[in-house]
C-alpha cells in the first residue's frame, strides 16, 4: 500500500511538471504578450511591467524562476487582475467550484445508480425503455442548451429560482442540475448494463438458494459488485465535470475557477492560467487515486501492488 502510494505520488509530480511546462511554453512562445494592447505602450514602461512580473530575460531564465516559485507554493501575481496574487484569486474562487462540482458528483452518482438499477430490474418494460431513451437524450443535449432552458422555465417563467449569480445556496440548484444531467445519464446506462450482467451470475443463484430476500440479494449482493464499473468511471467523470463546470459557471455567472480559466487564456495571463491548470490537475489525479483505492475495498480480488 505504501509503495503504491509513493509510486502514484511520484507519477503525479511528473504529470504536474509536464503540464506546468507545457502551459508555460505554449503561452510564452506564442506571439502576443500580457501587455500587448491595441494602443502601443512606450517600450520603457512595457519593460518595467515585464520586469515587475518576472517576465523579462531569456525564456529559460523565466521558466526556471517560475518553477522554483511554484515549488515554494507561490503562484505569483496575476497580470490582468493587477496586484492580486494567483493564490488569493484561487482561494476565493475554488470553494465555489468545489461545492458545485461535489454536489453535481453526488447528485449524478445517487440518481444515476438508482435509475440504472430500476431499469435493470424492470428490463424490457416501459420504465426501462423510457429511462434509457431519456438517458441517451440527456447525453446528447449539451449543458449549454439544458442550462439556458432551465433558466427560461424555472427562473423566468415560474420565478422559483434565481437566474444567475451567487447570492444564496439556492443559486446553486440550477447549476448543479445542469452540470449533473449528462453524468446522471452515463451512470444510469453503466449501472444498468453491469447489473444485468451480474444478475445472471452464479453467486446470486447461491444467495437465492440460501433463501435470502430478493431485495437483500439486489441491494447488498448484486449492486455491490455491479458498482465496480461505476466506480472506475468516477475518474473520467470528474474530468468531464471539471470541464463542464467551466461552461456552467459561464452560463450562470458564477465567480468560480472556470471563469478565471477562460479569462486567463483570453488575456494571456500566464500565471493565473498556470495556477488554474495546476489546481485542475491536482484535483483530477487525486480523484483517480481515490477511485483506485475505493476499487480495492469493493472488489477484494484486486490488489494495489499489481
Amino acid at each position: 500500500m505504501l509503495a503504491f502510494l509513493t509510486r502514484r505520488l511520484l507519477a503525479m509530480a511528473g504529470v504536474l511538471f509536464c503540464v506546468i511546462s507545457l502551459t508555460f511554453f505554449l503561452v510564452r512562445l506564442s506571439p502576443g504578450g500580457p501587455f500587448t494592447r491595441e494602443r502601443k505602450i512606450p517600450a520603457a514602461i512595457e519593460q518595467e511591467l515585464l520586469a515587475r512580473y518576472h517576465l523579462d530575460g531569456s525564456i529559460w531564465q523565466q521558466y526556471s524562476e517560475y518553477l522554483s516559485d511554484v515549488a515554494h507554493g507561490d503562484l505569483r501575481l496575476s497580470t490582468k487582475y493587477r496586484d492580486r496574487s494567483v493564490n488569493e484569486l484561487l482561494a476565493q474562487s475554488l470553494p465555489i467550484s468545489a461545492v458545485l462540482g461535489l454536489s453535481a458528483l453526488l447528485l449524478a452518482t445517487i440518481s444515476g445508480v438508482w435509475l440504472g438499477s430500476l431499469a435493470a430490474v424492470r428490463q424490457g418494460t416501459l420504465t426501462d425503455t423510457s429511462a434509457m431513451i431519456g438517458a441517451l437524450a440527456l447525453i446528447s443535449v449539451p449543458t449549454f442548451v439544458t442550462g439556458p432552458l432551465l433558466v427560461l422555465v424555472f427562473a423566468l417563467w415560474l420565478r422559483w429560482l434565481p437566474v444567475g449569480g451567487l447570492n444564496s445556496p439556492v443559486s446553486l440548484i440550477l447549476p448543479t442540475i445542469t452540470l449533473a444531467a449528462p453524468a446522471i445519464a452515463s451512470i444510469a446506462r453503466l449501472t444498468r448494463t453491469s447489473l444485468l450482467e451480474i444478475l445472471r451470475a452464479p453467486f446470486l443463484r447461491t444467495a437465492r438458494a440460501k433463501g435470502l430476500s430478493e431485495s437483500r440479494i439486489l441491494y447488498v449482493h448484486a449492486l455491490k459488485t455491479a458498482l465496480l464499473p461505476v466506480v472506475s468511471y468516477l475518474g473520467p467523470l470528474s474530468a468531464n465535470l471539471l470541464t463542464g463546470s467551466i461552461v456552467v459557471e459561464t452560463i450562470f455567472n458564477l465567480p468560480g475557477t472556470g471563469s478565471f480559466f477562460v479569462n486567463a487564456i483570453l488575456n494571456r495571463d500566464v500565471f493565473l492560467l498556470g495556477g488554474v491548470v495546476i489546481v485542475y490537475c491536482v484535483l483530477l489525479v487525486s480523484m483517480n487515486l481515490l477511485v483506485d483505492i475505493a476499487y480495492t475495498w469493493l472488489d477484494p480480488r484486486i490488489r494495489l501492488e499489481n
Binding site: 507545457l22 441517451l136 446528447s140 432552458l149 452560463i251
Partner: protein
C-alpha cells in the same frame, strides 16, 4: 463481450438487423434529412447568413421562419451555415481520430510486449488529464503561427479558416483513445485465431497480415465507434465555440450560435428563437448519431 469474437461484423444483414429497430430507423431518417438540408437547402434560400439588416430580433415570421438576430441576420440561414461547420469539424475530426486510433491500436495489439505497454500507458495518462484544457491551450498557441504561415498564400483568403483547421486536428488528436483501446482488444483476440496463424505459416509479411487479414475484420467495430465518436467531437467543438475559444466570428458553428442564444435569454426580454432552433438542430443530430451507434453496437453483439 460477444462483439469481441465477431466475424458477425462482416456477416451479411448487419444493416438489416440495425434497421429492424424502429429507433435506429427514425434516427437514420432524421440524420439524412439534416445532412440533405445542410448541403442543399442554402441554395434555395434567398437569405445570406452574413447579410445584416435593420430588422433586429424579429420573432419567427413568413420571411424569416427562424426569426432574426442582434444584427438582423436570418437565423435559419445562420443555423444551416453553423451546421456545415459543426458537421465538417465533427466528421473530419473523427476521421483524424480514426487514423490515429486504428493505427496505434493495431500496432499495440499486433506487436505486443513493450510497444503495447508503452502505448497503453500513454492512453491511460491521456485519459487522466483534462484533455479539453490542453486543446484550448494548443489552439491558442498554434493559431497565430498558422495565420502567419497562411498569410502570403492567395492573399490570405484562408486566414479565416485557421481556427477550424486547428480544431479538427486538435480534436482528432484527443478523441482517439477509446478507438485505440477497442481496436487493440480486438486485435489481441484476432491474432490467436487460426486464419492469422495460417497466414503467418504461409510466410506472409506482417504488413500484409495487418492490412489484408486484420483490418477487414476490424471494420464492424470501428464503424460502431466511429458513429459514437462523431457526436463526441461535435460536442467538444461546440463546447469550445460556446466559450468563445473555438470558431470565430463571422464564421459560426452551432456552439457559437448557442452562445448568442444563451446570452439572449435574460429577465428583460427573452429572444427564445435564437436558442431554440440551433439547440434543436444540434440535439437532434447528436441524439440520432448516438441512437444509431447504440443500435449498431447491439446488432453487432447479437
Amino acid at each position: 463481450m460477444a462483439a469481441h469474437f465477431s466475424p458477425a461484423a462482416n456477416r451479411p444483414g448487419l444493416w438489416r438487423r440495425v434497421l429492424r429497430r424502429p429507433a435506429a430507423l427514425v434516427a437514420l431518417v432524421i440524420l439524412c434529412a439534416i445532412l440533405f438540408s445542410t448541403l442543399f437547402l442554402p441554395f434555395f434560400l434567398s437569405a445570406d447568413p452574413h447579410a445584416t439588416s435593420p430588422d433586429t430580433f424579429l420573432s419567427p415570421n413568413a420571411a424569416h421562419p427562424f426569426g432574426t438576430d442582434l444584427n438582423g441576420r436570418d437565423v435559419l440561414a445562420r443555423t444551416l451555415q453553423g451546421a456545415r461547420i459543426s458537421l465538417l469539424v465533427g466528421f473530419s475530426g473523427t476521421f483524424v481520430s480514426l487514423v490515429i486510433g486504428t493505427t496505434l491500436g493495431l500496432l499495440a495489439g499486433y506487436i505486443g510486449g513493450k510497444t503495447d505497454a508503452l502505448l497503453m500507458r500513454l492512453v491511460d495518462i491521456l485519459y487522466a488529464i483534462p484533455r479539453l484544457i490542453l486543446i484550448i491551450l494548443a489552439t491558442f498557441a498554434l493559431d497565430p503561427f498558422l495565420k502567419t504561415w497562411l498569410a502570403p498564400i492567395q492573399e490570405g483568403r484562408w486566414i479565416g479558416y485557421t481556427k477550424i483547421a486547428i480544431l479538427i486536428l486538435a480534436l482528432g488528436c484527443i478523441e482517439w483513445l477509446t478507438m485505440a483501446r477497442i481496436v487493440r482488444g480486438q486485435v489481441l483476440s484476432l491474432k490467436t485465431q487460426p486464419f492469422v496463424q495460417a497466414a503467418r505459416a504461409l510466410g506472409q509479411s506482417h504488413t500484409r497480415i495487418l492490412i489484408r487479414h486484420l483490418l477487414p475484420n476490424l471494420l464492424g467495430i470501428v464503424v460502431v465507434y466511429l458513429t459514437l465518436t462523431i457526436p463526441a467531437v461535435m460536442l467538444d467543438e461546440s463546447f469550445l465555440s460556446f466559450l468563445g475559444l473555438g470558431v470565430q466570428a463571422p464564421q459560426a458553428s452551432w456552439g457559437s450560435l448557442l452562445s448568442d442564444g444563451a446570452n439572449a435569454i435574460n429577465p428583460i426580454r427573452s429572444h427564445w428563437w435564437l436558442l431554440l432552433f440551433p439547440a434543436t438542430a444540434m440535439s437532434l443530430t447528436l441524439l440520432s448519431l448516438n441512437f444509431l451507434g447504440d443500435a449498431l453496437r447491439d446488432a453487432l453483439a447479437e
